[in-house]
Subunit: 559 residues, 2 copies
C-alpha cells in the first residue's frame, strides 16, 4: 500500500474512485445478502466490509482483490454454527465473531509457518468440485427468498429440495415472478448497456454495465413496495458504525469452533489466492505475494471479529468487478470503504423495505459462475483418479456439508497420491546398444550380465513404498539363479526418509543372508548427503557406490 | 490352516501343544487385565480370546500371531467409549461389541480395496511414537490397581498423574509392595529359571521361564488372600461360554463410533502385521499375506462382536511367547482355545480373589517393551522431520488421547511429505565434458548454449508443486537475455496428474507470450502416455519432443 502510494500516479485517481464506488454499489446489497446466507443480521455483512477492507488495502498485495463478506465462506459459517445456536440469535452472532477470531489466528499461523510458499497443497479438483457444489447449496438455500414459501429447516439439502418440490403450490407466483425478473435483469443488463450506448462512450457503457445491482436495488426500494407483494423484506438495519468488542465465549465453545475455523481459513485463503492470481495474470501485473496475503487476510479476519462481523475472504465476483471497473491500486478499496460508511451512517433505513427475493437474485447471479462441471470432466478425461476426486468432493458437499466434503476431497487426493507412489514403477535395466544409456529390459534390446541385477526405482523412497521395493527385488531373485550383485540405480530417487532408510537396511540384511552384494549407482546429491550422515556406506561394504550405472555394469559384470 | 493341516508333520504336535498351553496360561490373566483396562467386565477379555482365536487359526497366514485382547486396542476402546457411557456398565459393553462390529467391517473394507497390498502407508515414526506413548498411558492408568489408591476419573492424563503424585500418602504400602514384588518376579523369573536349571534341560527351562505369569497367578490366588491385604480383587466372573448376540444400538450411536472404529481397525491391523512380519523374519518363514490378514482380522473382530467381547488384534507379547514356545502351526492357537474354554467352564471362580495389583503388574511388564525412545532418536538423527513426526505423535497421545495423537501424526507426516515435494529440486543442466551425460550447471563444469535453457525437475508433477516449477522458470528467464528455447528434461518425473498438466499448459502460454519455444526431452513412457491422451503434443508445436537431452541441445543449441 505505502509502496503504491509513493509511486501513485495522478491519473489513477479517477479510475480508482470510479472502481471503488462501483464495488461499493455492489457490496451493499451483497453484504446484506451474504449476512442472511450466513444466518446473521443484515448489518453483519456491511460490518464485514469495514475494517477488513481497510486492513486489506493496507497490507494486501493484490490491487483489485475485494476482501469482505464472501459467498462460500458465508455458507461455511452457517453450516459450522447452526448446530451450536439458532441462526439470527445474539449467541449466533457471538459465535460468528469468535469463528472470525480463530480463522484469523489460523491464517496468521499459516503465515508464520510460511504456508504461502507451498503454493497449491490442495488439488485443483478438490477446490473446483467443492465450489461447484457449494454454489448449488447456496442457490437451494435461497429457495425460501426466491419463492416466498416458508421452508422449515431440514436435515439435509436433499430434504430441503424435496420439501420445496413437494410444496411448490405454496410458492407465491408474484414473488417468483419478481425473482425471475431480477435474475433476468442482472444477467441481461450488461449486454443491454453495451447494445444501447454507442462505442464512443465505451468507458461510460462499461461503468453502467456493472451497475445492474444498483438499478435493481433502486427499483426494489422505490417501486416494489408500491406493488404490495407478500414478499419478505430485509427489515431494520441499525444505523451507524459497529461497536468494537471481542466475542465472549467459554473455552468449550472456542474449542468446538476450531475445526471449522481451520477449514474456513484454508478455503478462504485458497479462494482469495486463486482469484488474485487469476486477476494478476489477466492484468499481466506481478507483485502478488502469497505469504503476505496470509498476513493480510489473517488480520482482516481479526478486524471482522472485533467489529461484530464474521469470517471474510476475497470474493470472486466483486474482485472481477473491481478489476474490470479499472481499479489501479488499493486506494480503490478505500473509496469502497467510504461508500459503505456513508450508507451505514445515512442510508440503512432505505433498505428496510427491500424484498429478500432481490437479494436472493443477486446471490444466485453471483455464484452461478462457480458451478463448473467442465473442470470435473476434463480431470476425468485426463486421469480417472483426478476426476474421481472432483466427483467425490462435489457429491460429499451436496450430501452432507462443506466441511466434510472438503476434508474428504483432500484426504482422497492424498490417499490416491500415496497409493500411486506406494507401488512405484520399478524397472530392471541394461545397457542400450553400446552406449552409456540404460533402459528397461522389457522395453528395449539391452545387454545385461547374468551375475548382476540392475534395478531402477522411479520414486522417492519413503514410508508409503519401502516394503514394495524389497519384495520386488526378493521376488525377482527367487526367479533367477546365479545373481551375485544387486545394483540399485537411484537416478529417479529425489529424496529418502527414515522409513526408506530402514527399508534399505532391511534389504541389505536380506541380501547378506543370500550372499549377494548390494551396490548403488547414480544416486543424487541430496540422497547421498542423507545416507552419508549414517553409517550406511560403511555397512554395505564391500558393496560399492558407482557414479553411473555404466561403471557398475562394467566393473561387476564385465559388460 | 487347511493347507497346513494337509502338510502337518506329526512331530509338530507336541510343540504346538506346549506352545498353545503356555499361551493360554498367559492369556487368562492378560485377558482379564486388558478387559479391565478397556473398562469392561473381566469375562469380556476371555470371550475376546474364543471366536477370534478360532477364526484366526482358520483364516490367518501367520503360524504364531496370537489374536485376541491386546493392550493398545484395549486402551483405544476405553478412550473412544468413555465419553458415551460409564465404564463397567452394560451399555458400555454393548458399545464395545458394536465397536468390534464396525472395526471388523472396516477391516473387511480394507480387504476389499486391497489395502494390504499398499504395505506401509503410515510412517514407522507414527507407529513407534504412538505405541511408546500408549504404553505410558496404559501404565499410568494402572496406578490405581498398583498403589491401592482410589483415583477419581480425571480430565487428562497429566491430571491423573498429578493427582497420584499429590495423594501418594493415600497409597497403601502393602499393595505397592505387592505390585513391586510382582513386577520383579515377572521380570526376573526367566533369568532365574535359566540360572537354576542345568543346560541339559534346555527345553524344560525355556518352558518354565515363560510360566512366570502362571506362578504369579497361583501365588496370588493361594497365598495373597491369606495376607488379608486391602487390595481390590477381580470379583466374580460368570462361568461358562458367552451367549452369542449382536449389540443393539440406535443409528446415532453407531454413527458416533465410526471414526474410532476406523482408527482401531487401522492400528489393530498395522500392529498385527508388524508383529507377524517381525516373527516371520525371525523364523525365516514366508507365506505371510497382508491382505489375507485383513480378512482374518476382520472376521475375528466380527466374532468378538457377537460373543460379548470387544475389538481384538494380534498382540505383541503373547505372539512372541507363542513363537518362542515353539508353535509350528495355527494348531497351537486351537490348543490355547481349548485351555481358555476349560478355564471358562470350570475355573472362573478361582480368579475371584486375585488382587488387581497382580493384573496391573502383568500389564506393566507386557507394555514396557513398547516404549522405544530409541526409534524417535534414530529418526531425528536421520532427518529432523522424521523425528518431529515421532515426537508430535508421542506428545499428542500423552496430552490428549490415542485417536487425536495418531490422526495428528498421520496428517503431519503427509503434510511434511507434501511440503518437501512442493518445492522440488530443480536443476539447470548442461553437457558434462564431451559426453552424453547432463549435469547440474552449479555443481559441474558443463557446456550450455545461451539460447537454450535446459531444466530438469526432480519430482513428480502433481498438485503440490505445479506453480513452483513455472515460477522458477519465469524467474530464471527474467535474469537472462536471449533464451529462445526451454527444454524440460523429464528423466525424474515418474507421474503427472491433472494439476501438473494444467501447470504445463500455463507454462506453455506464458512462454508463448515471451516468444520462447517449449520442448521436452527424456520424458518417461507412463508420463508420455498420459500426455498423448490430450492434445498437448499438438499444442506445443513447433516445440519438439526429444529422446535425450543430448539430442535436444545438439539440435537447438548446436552444442
Amino acid at each position: 500500500m505505502f509502496n503504491t502510494l509513493r509511486n501513485y500516479q495522478r491519473e489513477w485517481l479517477s479510475a480508482d474512485l470510479a472502481a471503488g464506488l462501483v464495488v461499493a454499489i455492489l457490496l451493499v446489497p451483497q453484504g446484506i445478502a451474504y449476512a442472511f446466507l450466513a444466518g446473521l443480521p443484515p448489518q453483519a455483512g456491511l460490518y464485514a466490509a469495514l475494517l477488513p477492507l481497510f486492513i486489506y488495502a493496507m497490507l494486501g498485495t493484490s490491487p483489485s482483490l475485494a476482501v469482505g463478506p464472501a459467498a462460500i465462506v458465508s455458507l461455511m459459517t452457517l453450516e459450522s454454527l447452526q448446530q451450536l445456536a439458532t441462526p439470527g440469535s445474539a449467541e449466533f452472532s457471538q459465535l460468528a465473531a469468535a469463528l472470525a477470531v480463530l480463522t484469523g489466528l489460523f491464517l496468521l499461523l499459516f503465515y508464520l509457518i510460511g504456508l504461502g510458499r507451498w503454493t497449491t497443497f490442495i488439488s485443483h479438483s478438490v477446490i473446483s468440485g467443492f465450489s461447484s457444489a457449494a454454489a448449488i447449496v447456496i442457490i437451494i438455500n435461497q429457495s425460501k427468498s426466491l419463492t416466498g414459501m416458508s421452508v422449515p429447516r431440514q436435515e439435509s439439502l436433499a430434504d430441503t429440495l424435496w420439501y420445496v418440490l413437494q410444496h411448490l403450490e405454496q410458492a407465491l407466483p408474484a414473488v417468483m415472478l419478481l425473482s425471475a425478473a431480477a435474475i433476468l435483469l442482472l444477467k441481461a443488463w450488461p449486454s443491454l448497456c453495451r447494445m444501447l450506448i454507442t462505442h464512443r462512450w465505451k468507458m461510460m457503457s462499461e461503468l453502467l454495465g456493472r451497475s445492474g445491482p444498483l438499478v435493481l436495488i433502486v427499483l426494489g426500494i422505490t417501486l416494489v413496495p408500491a406493488l404490495n407483494l407478500p414478499a419478505e423484506i430485509v427489515g431494520d438495519i441499525p444505523s451507524g458504525l459497529p461497536q468494537l468488542a471481542l466475542p465472549h465465549l467459554n473455552s468449550e465453545q472456542w474449542q468446538s469452533l476450531l475445526p471449522s475455523a481451520l477449514l474456513i481459513a484454508l478455503i478462504g485463503y485458497l479462494e482469495s489466492l486463486s482469484v488474485a492470481t487469476a486477476m494478476a495474470r489477466r492484468a499481466k501485473t506481478s507483485g502478488l505475494n502469497p505469504n503476505r496475503e496470509l498476513l493480510a487476510l489473517g488480520i482482516a479476519n481479526l478486524g471482522a471479529a472485533v467489529s461484530q462481523a464474521y469470517p471474510v475472504a476475497g470474493g470472486f465476483g466483486r474482485s472481477m468487478v473491481n478489476q474490470a471497473a479499472g481499479a489501479r491500486s488499493q486506494l480503490a478499496g478505500l473509496f469502497t470503504l467510504a461508500g459503505i460508511i456513508l450508507v451505514l451512517v445515512v442510508a440503512t433505513s432505505w433498505f428496510t423495505v427491500l424484498p429478500k427475493a432481490l437479494l436472493g437474485a443477486i446471490i444466485v447471479v453471483a455464484v452461478i459462475p462457480l458451478i463448473n462441471f467442465q473442470d470435473g470432466l476434463h480431470a476425468w478425461r485426463f486421469q480417472k483418479s483426478d476426476g474421481l476426486v472432483w466427483l467425490v468432493t462435489f457429491m460429499a458437499v451436496l450430501a452432507s456439508n462443506a466441511e466434510l466434503g472438503i476434508s474428504l476431497g483432500i484426504l482422497l487426493s492424498l490417499v490416491l497420491y500415496l497409493r500411486r507412489s506406494s507401488e512405484p514403477h520399478i524397472a530392471e535395466i541394461g545397457r542400450y546398444k553400446n552406449s552409456d544409456h540404460f533402459r528397461n529390459v522389457q522395453r528395449h534390446q539391452v545387454s545385461t550380465s547374468p551375475q548382476v541385477l540392475m534395478i531402477r526405482v522411479d520414486e522417492n523412497l519413503y514410508f508409503a513404498n519401502t516394503h514394495y521395493l524389497n519384495e520386488y527385488i526378493i521376488h525377482r531373485l527367487e526367479q533367477a539363479d546365479g545373481i551375485r550383485h544387486v545394483v540399485l540405480v537411484g537416478s529417479a530417487i529425489n529424496h529418502i526418509d527414515f522409513n526408506g532408510y530402514e527399508g534399505l537396511l532391511e534389504l541389505h540384511q536380506q541380501l547378506q543372508q543370500l550372499n549377494i552384494l548390494l551396490h548403488m549407482a547414480e544416486f543424487k546429491g541430496p540422497v547421498m548427503d542423507r545416507l552419508e550422515s549414517t553409517d550406511w556406506l560403511e555397512r554395505i561394504k564391500p558393496g560399492q557406490v558407482f557414479f553411473t550405472a555404466s561403471d557398475a555394469l562394467r566393473e561387476l559384470g564385465h559388460v
